[in-house]
Symmetry: C2
Subunit: 115 residues, 2 copies
DNA sequence: CCTCCTTGCTACTAATTATGTAGCATCTTT
DNA sequence: AAAGATGCTACATAATTAGTAGCAAGGAGG
């Protein structure tokens, strides 16, 4: 197993699931890949394109990690979220709304620290 | 501003807020830092320790990015989440539950390769 | 069978980022 | 004044990511 609950990861030897998850999702393109898979399966090159022509090296590495983690799976249709992956994505969807509000507030106030 | 809505980021020239956010949170330690700040302010070295003795170089870089993004701020008490940062964290809290379920399901189903 | 695509992915090098350690400058406390 | 803390910079090394090329396998069409 590359990464999964119980694994020792950067910054935590405890293997606490949340730590493992934060490490996994903190790797480049991982979050974006989940995001791009939200609408349904994509094959390797489609996913690559969706992520802005990410290099196939990282894409493949990340895919392996996410598959090992049981978040992504392969099918005849291409790569897709597992049931669990879908649940994870659902937990991430609110980020979109937050980001929209963020955009509004920053372009309005544009500063670095809040009172 | 280093990174914020409207910025061009890796994999997206659109500057769509969600893309900028996913890029920002996808940098090493960013998610973890937010997580560790959930309970209240921490000073530089406390935060460093909380993140498992992350190197001060990255810590400082990430802090600057998160401050530029209006997610983290400094006060006499140390580094803390802004109002917005708090909202973002709130959106991320469900990940903890998800991760717990993840741990359970993987150790129960023992899919890929666990002893 | 033979080409010509498409697809998933490996190879390899260059560039960017992160790690790890040391230590300085600035307070605060004793 | 001396002895911590604290926030951070410097710098060398290691690890990760980017970028590009291209191969092996499979399918469609001829």
């Amino acid at each position: 197993m590359a990464v999964g609950p119980g694994t020792k990861v950067r910054g935590s030897t405890s293997g606490r699931p949340i730590m493992v998850l934060l490490d996994l999702l903190g790797r480049r393109w991982a979050l974006r890949m989940l995001w791009e898979l939200r609408a349904g399966p994509l094959n390797f090159r489609q996913l690559q394109t969706a992520c802005g022509d990410i290099s196939p090296t990282v894409l493949n590495t990340r895919l392996a990690e996410l598959r090992d983690a049981g978040i992504v799976a392969v099918s005849g249709e291409g790569y897709l979220l597992t049931q669990q992956g879908g649940d994870l994505l659902a937990a991430l969807l609110p980020l979109n709304d937050w980001a929209e509000g963020w955009a509004g507030s920053i372009s309005a106030a544009g500063t670095r620290d809040r009172p």
